[in-house]
């Protein structure tokens, strides 16, 4: 357990050393600027538009910076060979993964709380709380996926491309499913059926991120505890899967 804490503390110190939180503050400032600009051009629903756009900007920003932080940190670990040093110590490989993940999760938590706090001006705190917890769940999935991708590819471009592709797919898979099965799609050739099967298979394997961190909660205050329960269950299931995949990959590596 102490080894896990040590690794987590080192990740947090790395975030401070690489000025990760300066980027977070800059994103917040850009978000506020965007929000002020939007406030100037809207005729009605100003607060709703401002909070909706600010939340969407911060969510995408959080996913972008946290994922890049995990990937660059781990790529650096491979390049300066410190991962070999860690694994040469009397420490299980699983401890290494959990230690790193705990540190990244802490960074994700701080990011989610800072971004959520920025929304408190216009939105009731209950809805903001729900949004923060949901964003944290989304970031945990992205963090674990980023770790898995780095362990698999060892390169920033490949790993980040996979994370971006995964995120876009996971956020739009429901719309794709509806489009493929919708009444407008009347053609039923074998290619269409194959595409349908493929989309359904993807939907089965991907977490439905469309239900996470919805702007509707902030704009129309419609979020409640049931939403969170569903999100937490999905996050736990997917984290188990991603951690298992990461461990499977790491244990098979001849490091």
């Amino acid at each position: 357990m102490r080894q896990i804490f040590t690794l987590a503390a080192l990740v947090t110190r790395e975030a401070l050393r690489t000025r990760f939180f300066v980027v977070i503050v800059m994103l917040l400032l850009i978000g506020f600027g965007l929000s002020l600009f939007v406030g100037q051009v809207t005729l009605i629903e100003t607060q709703a538009t401002q909070s909706g756009l600010l939340a969407a900007f911060l969510r995408l920003g959080a996913v972008y910076v946290v994922s890049l932080f995990v990937i660059t940190s781990m790529v650096h670990e491979f390049q300066d060979r410190s991962i070999y040093l860690w694994l040469s110590l009397p420490m299980q490989r699983s401890t290494y993964v959990f230690g790193k993940l705990s540190g990244f999760a802490l960074v994700a938590l701080i990011t989610a709380v800072l971004f959520g706090a920025a929304l408190l001006g216009d939105v009731p705190y209950q809805q903001v709380g729900l949004w923060i917890l949901s964003l944290l769940c989304e970031l945990l999935i992205i963090t674990t996926l980023s770790l898995l991708c780095v362990l698999t590819f060892h390169q920033t471009i490949q790993a980040f491309s996979v994370v971006v592709g995964f995120y876009i797919l996971a956020r739009s898979i429901s719309a794709m499913q509806l489009m493929a099965q919708g009444p407008l799609n009347i053609s039923q050739s074998w290619i269409d059926q194959l595409i349908n099967i493929f989309i359904n298979l993807l939907a089965m394997l991907l977490p439905n991120l469309e239900r996470f961190t919805q702007s509707e909660w902030l704009v129309y205050h419609t979020g409640h505890f049931d939403n969170l329960l569903e999100i937490v269950v999905q996050t736990v299931i997917y984290l188990i899967l991603l951690v298992a995949m990461s461990l499977f990959d790491l244990y098979r590596k001849n490091l």
Binding site: V38, L43, E45, T49, G52, S215
Partner: protein, 242 residues
């Protein structure tokens, strides 16, 4: 950890020259290029709802807000203001409809339709956008009635089309909800009066008073007074006829 930087003198002269040359060339290129094209772009048809949802990345409300702001700013292109007459209202209507499908609770597209786009000088376009507000009202009458009430006034005073105004006012009264103010439901009385349909106006007021839904004594008094005035005018009209 701060990195110590060497003096500028340590940078080779060729590098400094290239730096300045690059900057000058970039600025020269900017002036060489023709000024931004001020050609006005026509409003193209919106993509299908399914595609819009895919590009929304699971957040249709934010997409709706962004699209609405873009549409609102569409009449300002390359520093030129387009008149609403230059905009294709069929396409505009399609965009507003798609935005409402993405975010059905938003009132913004209907505000834009009833207050901004309805100010177009061309009567046909004005009628088209008023009809759009009328059609959209039936989807959510309890939230969308203010926009239909506004276009009722426009139909009456700007288009001077009393039958059209009556159609809108009757829709409000038919789909009235408890949270809707009484004045919105009573608009049809005044339109009927202006149309000279005194008998129908009397029937509407009589129906309202008989329904038992009115609680406010001032309102009951007002409607009773109105009923008396109408009856007086009606009997005067009859006397003149015979």
């Amino acid at each position: 950890m701060t990195e110590q930087q060497r003096s500028i003198q340590s940078v080779p002269k060729t590098v400094k020259f290239l730096l300045i040359l690059g900057l000058v060339l970039q600025m020269a290129w900017y002036y060489y290029l023709p000024p931004p094209d001020a050609e006005i772009q026509a409003l193209s048809s919106p993509p299908k709802q399914e595609l819009l949802r895919i590009f929304s990345l699971g957040d249709p409300i934010v997409s709706a807000k962004i699209l609405m702001l873009w549409l609102q700013a569409f009449d300002n292109q390359s520093g030129q203001f387009l008149s609403y007459q230059q905009i294709n209202y069929t396409t505009l209507q399609q965009w507003l409809e798609q935005i409402l499908l993405l975010d059905p609770q938003s009132q913004y597209p209907l505000l834009a339709a009833s207050h901004l786009y309805s100010s177009v000088k061309e009567k046909n376009k004005q009628r088209q956008i008023l009809e759009f507000v009328y059609q959209q009202f039936f989807i959510d009458p309890s939230h969308r009635w203010p926009w239909l009430a506004h276009v009722t006034v426009l139909a009456k005073h700007q288009l001077k089309d009393l039958p059209l105004a009556l159609k809108y006012a009757e829709a409000i009264a038919t789909y009235a909800t408890p949270e809707m103010p009484r004045w919105a439901q009573e608009m049809q009385i005044f339109i009927l009066e202006d149309m000279g349909e005194l008998e129908r106006a009397r029937l509407v007021i009589g129906g309202m008073l008989a329904s038992g839904k009115l609680i406010d004594p001032n309102e009951i008094k007002f409607l009773n007074d109105k009923l008396l005035t109408l009856e007086k005018s009606f009997s005067q009209e009859k006397e003149q006829k015979y």
